[in-house]
């Protein structure tokens, strides 16, 4: 058994891969900015963070006529003299002569610089404690890292691991794994050793005093998890939203529409109750607006950016899936395995997202697994466990497809080669053992089976995390397409529970939304309470969300009663129903829309900023709709009625007393009543309250 970090002259020298390479990695030799760069540094190249031990071994022991290691005179070796500062070294002093690391390398060289057992490798690491609660700033905690090796041994690698704080405004971490709290909140420390990764969570309570959770009774399991974290971090929860706030939020989140004035009137007239809210939610889940909206969300996710027949077929297929409430695993399997005429088989269009199997595998990894695997195309992923071989074997699933003549077809030829050996690779799932190959059948079937299996943790988690982010304004993991062991969720158990629930309900999207919306957590007000103003990841209050451009445009059309017209689309088509993101619309361009060229995940790719403000103040989106429609409809009503009606339509709430007192006389006394009503409507549509889902 080896104890890394101690320089004992042992009969067996440390193996290169598990004993020496980590010393070099720890010293920073193979970092991206040093010898780990693609072109090396100063004529000496190492693999990034040591992902290619055999090549590194060659480079160190064989290149440059072995001057890098001199077995006869270990201390004369360049690999020691340079980093210890005895010879000029551009990277500075990295390995002190009196350090354990220096001694380890020296003794290894003295023992003949052997590679050691070829198959011995690190199979995993664990960090203890994995969950740390520290009551205050300036407190420290020592992490301990243990590596498991392929020969079943374990070793303490605390001194040789690399540590990075995911938020160094909350916690800093030293080179030796000692954590110091510097701020309050929740973060984690990323730990890397020999190609393996792990993370430790760090929590520093926001408030000084413990708080009771009596005013946060759980409605379902979501609240139990959220409540526990709030209590642990001494953060009070805000009260429940009032009915108006809830109604507006749930309509925008579930259907991308505002409630009609009638729906608002009826809902607000009935006494508040959880049942009433549930009923309203269920109605929305059954609506056509739900289908339109979630079809758009899926099209955004899948980067549906074509035009014409094929895009129409793809869109129609997606809409059908949402309308019939198809299980999400089934939708995914269809996308991953369909073939045929692109204008007829909508689901086959997914395969046209990219023609290079590697590009397509990156899309699939991001969309369905929340995994950013692109790094591993050229070298091992620096903060995840994927190797170059993992990457290319995953890509091999997409190697045998042709896309000629407007149809996707299975081919019996096509390979993804290993970038180093140039040999074709057999397909293998990410992070799972190879599956037996069954002849010449469609490789994608095997992929789809593995990917959508209920026990694939990435698939279910990435889907529920995206839905959660849409509804709550922040993902349990952020960014939502970067799920990896070193980027842990804020509420790991909640994410697990949501994923398990999703599987238990047969991958039912509506049921998932229903469960989240029913929780107290979702229904909290966005008004903050005390110290919870500082919170942006514990869900102590509802977070503000901007209305996405198509939703904003549709809402303006809805409340003004003046619909938009989109070129080449039937009258009455709403922005969320557009099939192609290239449908001409200067308004959507300036308001911001997802062009579906690259992932949006909720944030627009165009528009915003000063141009948007100018457009809303002077442009046609609002000003072009202040004639006819609701303005005409309200003619002849009393000033008070008009104010109330406009508030109900635009803001989903009645005006407060001071608001009535301000606007009512303005409408009553102005020289031109129509102008006054137009101005009030303009004002409401330009208000920050309208622009936000709160």
């Amino acid at each position: 058994m080896l104890v890394a970090g101690t320089a004992v002259s042992d009969a067996t020298p440390p193996p290169f891969r598990t004993g020496i390479l980590p010393v070099l990695t720890k010293a920073g030799c193979n970092a991206g900015a040093c010898h780990g760069a693609a072109t090396g540094q100063g004529g000496f190249k190492l693999s990034l963070l040591g992902y290619d031990p055999e090549e590194d071994f060659e480079r160190i022991t064989r290149e440059l006529g072995s001057r890098r290691v001199e077995v006869a005179h270990p201390e004369e070796s360049l690999v020691l003299r340079k980093p210890s500062g005895q010879l000029e070294h551009e990277g500075g002093r990295k390995l002190r002569r009196d350090s354990n690391g220096y001694a380890l390398v020296r003794d290894w060289i003295a023992a003949g610089a052997p590679y050691g057992p070829r198959d011995l490798q690190v199979t995993g690491i664990s960090v203890e404690p994995s969950d740390n609660l520290l009551h205050g700033t300036n407190l420290t905690k020592q992490l301990r890292v243990t590596a498991s090796l392929s020969d079943s041994s374990r070793q303490d690698v605390t001194d040789l691991s690399l540590y990075t704080s995911n938020d160094d405004a909350i916690a800093e971490v030293s080179k030796t794994g000692e954590v110091t709290t510097v701020g309050r909140g929740l973060t984690s420390i990323m730990v890397r050793y020999s190609g393996q990764v792990a993370a430790a969570r760090i929590a520093v309570p926001l408030g000084d005093a413990k708080i009771g959770m009596d005013d946060f009774p759980a409605r379902n399991y979501i609240d139990e998890h959220v409540g526990r974290e709030l209590s642990r971090l001494h953060v009070p929860a805000s009260p429940l939203s009032d009915d108006a706030e809830f109604l507006r939020r749930v309509h925008l989140d579930v259907t991308g529409r505002l409630p009609t004035p009638e729906a608002t009137r009826l809902f607000l007239a009935e006494p508040s109750s959880a049942q009433k809210r549930q009923r309203a939610t269920d109605e929305l889940l059954r609506s056509d607006a739900f289908v339109d909206f979630w079809t758009m969300k899926l099209a955004d996710l899948l980067l549906l950016n074509g035009r014409g027949d094929t895009a129409a077929a793809y869109h129609a297929w997606l809409r059908e899936q949402v309308a019939t409430n198809a299980a999400f695993d089934r939708i995914t399997r269809a996308l991953l395995t369909s073939s045929g005429d692109l204008a007829r088989v909508g689901s086959a269009n997914f395969m046209t997202l990219a023609s290079d199997p590697r590009d397509l595998s990156e899309h699939a990894g991001r969309i369905f697994l929340g995994a950013q695997i692109a790094c591993a195309r050229c070298h091992s992923h620096p903060s995840d466990r994927w190797t170059q071989e993992d990457y290319h074997r995953f890509a091999a699933y997409f190697a045998r497809i042709t896309r000629e003549g407007g149809a996707v077809q299975i081919s019996t030829r096509g390979e993804v080669d290993h970038p180093k050996t140039g040999k074709p690779l057999s397909p293998k799932p990410l992070g799972a053992p190879s599956r037996p190959q069954i002849g010449d059948v469609d490789r994608r079937v095997e992929l789809a089976g593995w990917l959508t299996a209920p026990d694939n943790p990435l698939f279910t988690r990435t889907i529920v995390n995206r839905v959660w982010k849409h509804l709550l304004g922040r993902g349990l993991v952020e960014p939502v397409d970067d799920l990896r062991p070193t980027n842990p969720p804020t509420h790991p158990e909640l994410l697990d529970a949501l994923a398990a629930d999703f599987v238990a309900h047969d991958f039912d999207l509506r049921q998932l939304i229903r469960t989240i919306v029913s929780s107290r957590t979702y229904q909290l007000t966005s008004r903050t309470r005390g110290v919870n103003r500082m919170d942006s990841r514990l869900y102590s209050h509802a977070y503000l969300k901007e209305l996405p451009a198509p939703v904003f445009a549709d809402a303006v059309a809805q409340v003004t009663g003046v619909p938009d017209l989109f070129e080449g689309c039937p009258e009455g088509t709403r922005a969320v129903q557009l099939i192609s993101p290239a449908t001409p619309s200067p308004a959507l361009d300036v308001l911001g829309r997802c062009l579906r060229k690259r992932p949006c995940d909720g944030s627009a790719q165009t528009g915003g900023g000063l141009a948007e403000a100018l457009h809303l103040i002077n442009g046609s989106t609002i000003n072009g709709k202040l004639r006819g429609g609701v303005i005409e409809e309200l003619k002849g009503r009393s000033s008070r009625e008009i104010v109330e009606e406009l508030y109900r339509r635009v803001l989903t709430r009645p005006p407060a007393q001071d608001e009535l007192a301000e606007w009512e006389p303005l409408l009553a006394s102005g020289p031109d009543r129509t102008e006054a009503v137009q101005d009030l409507l303009w004002t409401l549509l330009n208000s920050r309250e309208f622009a936000l889902n709160h």
Binding site: A169, R184, Q372, G607, L614, H615, I617, E659, R688
Partner: protein, 447 residues
């Protein structure tokens, strides 16, 4: 800005010194978990500077301009490397550039040509972000573009937006040229839309008088005060800042006119050329004249993977003819700025994300080559008529005075009075130097 604030701020992030002190206080009990710290970024006062340049016009050649066919021709190289274009003499003795840039050749006495740009990021996206931020892109933190840093330091020049992007096919207003990174959204560029001749939203809608527009503005101020229950947060703060900028701009006739190209004589428009890059450069000149600090003119179509010798010079190829259009626009801009006495206060930068492969590919084009490229700087105190750095005989790598994107960013910022060594704060409270590496290119000022 519609929420009453203790002090009226003229910075793009709406932060006054007083706000900063207030926020500093909050930080001590844990603001780090919120995004509120975005605010803090700008609070340190801009350093006093003796920089001559007040403004910058960046002409961004999107896709990666070919150094070997524009400013660094290698007539002696073998045919698989050599440009088919001839090298012509310029107004600087001994300096030759591409035959399709004859007007530019005439203004080279005002230009410092860097031939030794080099980096290692060969993808459009990463290369662009490296060049426009001076930082290697990382997923952990998005760095602000140079224009955002300038905007954040100098704030509004009167009513003019400090940072304007004149995009092309959506490029530039989108992912690359304009983003504010970790700075507040209000430091991002004002994207004028695809047609420089028609900038939208500057005129009151039909039937709305100035007085009525003001009345609406007052109503809006009251309305937003009524919905105070909508919490302050980054979305509301960015939005409020944009509305304030918008009203500032709308209130100034002079500022609005700056965006109106129709006020230029037809000879002037002719001189800049009718290609979009020409109109963009002319609009840029009007904007810096009126007080904008950083204007990016994006010209797309430089990603010449095929038929480079046909596409670049010949405007009969669809979407091509890049060289004649650029030649006209660039030379007209330099000349026009000089004639108006603005060249000394306006730094003009011409660059793209990288150079192109020395070896021609099978399609007669050149692929991405970040290891060598050319950059032109003029005006703003730059000593013109000089060449800085050199590449080897095939134009593959610098053999003299390599210049990296951090050096270039450092230098441009310094020219514009932004202290590159200043420390900013990211939304998570992390202190971050404006530039973490790079050094000033002294040759540009004749040292």
């Amino acid at each position: 800005m519609k929420t009453p604030r203790p002090t009226q701020s003229h910075r793009c992030d709406g932060v006054s010194r007083r706000d900063f002190l207030h926020l500093g206080l909050l930080t001590s009990f844990g603001l780090s978990v919120t995004d509120l710290l975005r605010l803090q970024a700008a609070a340190a006062e801009a350093p006093g500077h003796s920089a001559k340049a007040k403004s910058c016009i960046l002409i961004w050649l999107d896709g990666g301009p070919s150094h070997l066919d524009m400013f660094d021709l290698k007539p002696e190289a073998p045919s698989e490397v050599r440009s088919q274009f001839k090298a012509i003499p310029t107004s600087v003795t001994g300096l030759h550039i591409c035959e399709h840039l004859p007007l530019t050749a005439g203004v080279m006495k005002d230009v410092a040509l860097i031939r030794s740009l080099t980096h290692e990021l060969g993808n459009h996206d990463t290369g662009t972000r490296f060049m426009l931020t001076g930082h290697r892109p990382t997923p952990a933190l998005e760095h602000p573009s140079l224009g955002s840093l300038v905007a954040q330091t100098h704030g509004f020049g009167g009513a003019m937006p400090p940072y304007v992007a004149i995009p092309n096919d959506g490029v530039g207003g989108d992912s690359n040229a304009a983003r504010a990174g970790y700075l507040p959204g209000a430091c991002s560029a004002f994207n004028v839309g695809n047609d420089p001749s028609r900038v939208g939203g500057l005129q009151l809608p039909e039937g709305v008088s100035f007085a009525r527009g003001e009345h609406r503005r007052e109503m809006l101020r009251k309305m937003d005060a009524f919905s105070r229950h909508i919490e302050e947060g980054p979305p509301t703060r960015d939005r409020d800042a944009f509305y304030e900028q918008a009203y500032r701009l709308l209130a100034s006739t002079e500022a609005k006119e700056a965006f109106d190209l129709s006020r230029e004589k037809s000879e002037t428009r002719e001189r800049y050329g009718h290609a979009r890059v020409g109109a963009g450069c002319l609009l840029a000149r009007r904007l810096v004249e009126a007080g904008s600090r950083f204007v990016t003119v994006v010209d797309t179509g430089w990603d010449t993977h095929q038929q480079i010798f046909k596409e670049l010079p010949d405007s009969r190829f669809p979407g091509s003819g890049k060289l004649p259009a650029l030649d006209r626009a660039y030379s007209a801009l330099i000349t026009d700025l000089r004639e108006r006495g603005l060249l000394d206060s306006t730094l003009v930068v011409l660059m793209g994300e990288f150079g192109r492969t020395p070896k021609l590919n099978a399609l007669g084009g050149r692929d991405h080559w970040p290891r060598a490229g050319s950059v032109c700087l003029a005006g703003g105190g730059v000593k013109g008529g000089q060449v800085i750095g050199a590449t080897n005989s095939f134009g593959e790598i610098p053999v003299e005075r390599p210049v990296g994107p951090p050096d270039l960013a450092f230098t441009i910022l310094k020219f514009l009075g932004v202290d590159p060594t200043r420390e900013l704060t990211t939304p998570t409270g992390r202190p971050m130097k404006v530039m973490s590496e790079g050094s000033f290119i002294k040759e540009l000022v004749g040292v």
